[in-house]
Symmetry: D2
Subunit: 364 residues, 4 copies
């Protein structure tokens, strides 16, 4: 059944395979009147491109986006925004050895079983290139959220066992790992180098902080802010865990430690701590939204691995080609994008929660 | 916006407040021809009832369910199944002290801000009693899943710092914590006793294992099995984290450790390990589905806490009444229920993935 | 698949069979802060009750509604509103003769084929009693729409061949046919009497006019106002046709006749005619919304009819019991209810169409 | 709110404006394993192209489609199928005179009011070119439905007052009006010529017949086959009415006339007539599905018309350019497409209605 659309009001539908003609997204329900150019989207797409560093694959991907509809005179019109990225000249023959063999840790086997057919070139629909559509949807959402003063800080919290201790937002874009802590980059690099030497890969954790959210975003009971963020983030390939605020750590705390007290700061209700990570009862509580995603190690490794083929024979596979030894740095903007889509969708949903607000709207 | 429905094909809509007249669920899209009685549902509801042990509140809740529609001659008819549980005589006056004061760690403040009005009696819609509707939906889903040989093992993985080392499924229902490991129950009880002595509460972790799933459940890319489980589980009050398979631990692993090799076992494709927790590319991979949920400590504690009232004054609150010092034991069946709903929904969605299967269906 | 929910933001889920324990609806997404009592709903339910006139069945249905959730201190809280109507003592044995025989013009055969089982008592889910849930949802929607000065005039446009020429809104509730024209009631009655004498039934047309709609309701391209009204109205049992404005008549007109010119009336844009029936491009255009629904004759007639049983035998059926010889009068409030649900849903959807409106909302 | 997607399982999302870069559709949820080429889609797109006859505009539109994703080795893969049609060199300047003036009978005014901005070039999103996306979705659905032996006969039932009396399916594609009756084409042409002489336009009626449907398609109560067809057809621009079977005529019939009797034809249940048009209780009943759509006259006429501009001034408008004097012939394939989308969606939904069918599926 159709699972390529996310959101109820701000709806992002993505399409495209790794080695098909193109990939893209259709964004339906974007509010009208928002300034939007291809450059606005491109700047986000560039963040997921493989770079020159050793942490990311050496493949060259231009990934220039084209807006095909929904924008007029530089502004969104309320009609669906279709954005496309052509797939360049990618070497399909590189992948011929995996046409009939299931790569461990990949979706080859499950796609084949579910559909009875799969585009095996570069992973097809399960390729990391699928996230291009997510970033398009996220970049447009960001363009809207900017108008409300909502801002995101998203980064690598850890690279394997190397954990960022400090968060310097300015530093995130200045190192190949998207680490926010200058003190640990060298250690991360050494760790990764040793790992690559062994033809192996490594995982990590991505953390995201969102400032400026109004109170009350999230729809009880199933469409809570944390629930929809959970779906949004867990839907990204290679993500194996999700937590908000103290997350798994809260299982070890007492109520007296975990509860955030309220106090008045002038007219404003504030919290004296933020163990909740910015949500109470599944709605934004005025605190900073904080969540983390666990990223598994890249499954494509150059070591021989035990597997089977689609004729039911045991076999070995060695995956060639250039692959990121760690997914984290390029996934940071994907996590941020999914958060932006989720939040904008809930902001729009929230607009008709009270009849008085609706009356104000129609009074104009 | 409406957030009280979960699922696309098997759809569960829940309703009801802690101290309203009743709570319930409407299950739409359940396949016709499934045997279903009130006792089938009641046996699940009984698992979320407060017990006699010190781990759960001493409140008495009868919580007898009534099936009002959708069942005829002992079988589901394909029409919506409406199930209701009356709220008994609950002492509304007990809660008058929280009518205008926001309890830390609760949804009082966010509900008030979002809607401008809230049913403050017992937490209203954000009460744990809201999960009655989820368990109704889960119990009916279980009744269907049984026909496919799919079974669930769900239990407390940890009570605060006390972790179950072994899993003995039979033992789970024989201790007040739903722990699967006889060796740690006494330690859990001592820990909780000490905690209650200090008028404090504690968190924990719930683990769920599902056996017998067909390969290929989950809809790429946003409605992956892990993504929808993520939403389902994170939507339960007090859950702060979710992970599948190795989860957060996988962030520390190498690809060579985390990848599960495939091998042939006769005609069947099997995996030599299950780091993935039973999903690849967001679809069930034939392995056991394994996931965990982090539960925060009960926010209702009998200590004085700093907070504010709805007039903007700083104040202290002491929460009276009987509250579970730990949510985990009663939440086990809720987690299991949400998993059952998610899996049945995806099983039904999956039925039209291939045109040949659809042709078989209409050939009948 | 689940088809018992209508609406995207204002969502009405109905449940219940003719002779089950109860029928009802869950309304999710209703804005908070709307005054609502059981009497508000009851006054609409009473309009669909069979009366004393010969035009409607002599069965006695009390149909008292109970609000079970979602209302606190006399106002909606934004949480789901569950409303229930108990089924009284209805003579199940009356229907035993149709347990295994398919009534012509009814849904017996299609329900049995689709689901392999059906609640045959009184038509089960396909009974006219199913509309109780629709009227509940409509009555609550009306309660919201009243706050915006939106009003409905819905009536029988024709009873068989007897057509109302004038519309006197006050008269509609004063005759058993819901005709708006005193001059034709006697003729309608004579026509119906003759028809009942022959143990036959008759159809008719319902017309609905809505005043006070803001411009711009309806979501291009598939969720246009006329498209969703089309679904809403065609989903009512016995409705076989739907048209807006000039409707089928417009197929005979020229553009120069059918186009409505615009002109300024002070500051306001007005139309010099209303052939469109109040929609342009699928959005409300500021004119009065006008639509019609064609109602087929009651299929339950006391004449012997040719049919088959569920064992594949040809047979005759004579339907006993008391049945409305015409559905129109009782369906008027159902059509009105579906229109109210559709319009409120689109009003809420529309609230986030422009980014400036959304910014105003969050400025508060 | 997002209204550019139709269907629940087979989901068609359309995008694009008349004079934007391109138009297209993303089809998500199409079953895997269906043969599909660009030519399969092109043959349907060609049917909506303006021809050489006087009945359709003389504009030249190449409208070649490109499949960008979702097809591999000539078969659908179950992933979203993205199809695009580039907009050729269309003379934007032709439309400059309508930038600030609202055309009567068009959506200019309502789009401007709803969104505060509109792409006025050629009607933007409300242009007839929007239907390209619908035909793409319909052509792909047809490709699936062919595998089930389901076939469509769709044609002009009437051109203004000229009504087809006979239906010769072969003849439909052999005349510029898509009339199925050779005897009335000349009369239709004369009528249209006279109308064009007066710089005027004309409406008509489209009729569609579908053979080979299995019994039981349609989901009670809101997603009935006729209800969803109603939405699907009414969502097409210029459609003002919809009816199934006897439709509005049934309002004049008696139950004894309108009911279709059942009889056994060997093992098969058959109906002795088809007043219902192939649906009972909103589900396909084994008879031929028959429905009609009323098409209003083309609103673009070359006569001067009274209107207003976006500054609130009264003014006259004369619409230049080449416009179809009648929409019917080109809308035939659009109506057929929306029917195909609706039916395939319901066929897929229906596949999990009974637990036994689901068990068969998973037994494989």
């Amino acid at each position: 059944m159709a699972g390529s659309t996310f959101g109820k009001v701000y709806r992002v539908t993505t399409w495209g395979e790794s080695h098909g003609k193109a990939l893209g997204a259709v964004v339906d329900g974007c509010p009208a009147g928002v300034p939007l150019t291809e450059e606005d989207i491109q700047s986000y797409l560039d963040r997921r491109k493989p770079g020159q560093s050793k942490a990311t694959t050496a493949r060259k991907e231009a990934d220039r986006c084209e807006i095909l509809s929904g924008v007029f005179d530089g502004k969104t019109t309320g009609t669906p925004i279709s954005v496309l990225v052509w797939n360049g000249d990618q070497h399909s023959k590189d992948y011929s050895n995996i046409a009939h063999v299931y790569r461990p840790g990949h979706a080859d086997y499950t796609f084949q079983e579910k559909y009875g057919i799969r585009d095996y070139r570069g992973g097809g629909r399960s390729s990391g290139r699928e996230t291009i559509g997510r970033v398009i949807g996220g970049a447009i959402a960001m363009q809207v959220l900017k108008e409300f003063g909502i801002s995101f800080t998203c980064y690598a919290k850890s690279i394997g066992p190397v954990v960022a201790e400090n968060v310097d937002p300015v530093y995130i874009s200045k190192n190949p790992f998207c680490l926010p802590d200058p003190n640990v980059v060298e250690r991360a690099q050494s760790y990764l180098d040793a790992c690559m030497e062994r033809k192996d890969s490594i995982g990590g954790v991505i953390e995201c902080r969102v400032d400026g959210l109004p109170v009350g975003l999230g729809e009880p009971v199933f469409d809570k802010l944390d629930a929809l963020l959970g779906q949004a983030v867990m839907s990204i390939g290679a993500i194996k865990g999700f937590e908000v605020g103290d997350g798994f750590q809260s299982s070890l705390l007492h109520g007296s430690q975990d509860n955030d007290g309220f106090y008045m700061d002038g007219d404003e209700v504030k919290k004296s701590s933020n163990h909740s990570g910015g949500t109470l009862g599944g709605m934004s509580d005025g605190g900073q939204l904080v969540f983390r995603a666990a990223v598994k190690p890249t499954p494509s490794i150059a070591q021989a691995q035990q597997t089977v083929d689609d004729q039911g024979n045991d076999t070995l596979i060695v995956i060639h080609g250039r692959h990121d030894p760690i997914i984290v740095p390029r996934a940071v903007v994907v996590v941020e994008s999914m958060a932006a889509i989720t939040i904008l969708d809930l902001m729009m949903q929230n607009a008709s929660s009270q009849v008085d607000a609706l009356k104000n709207f129609y009074k104009k």
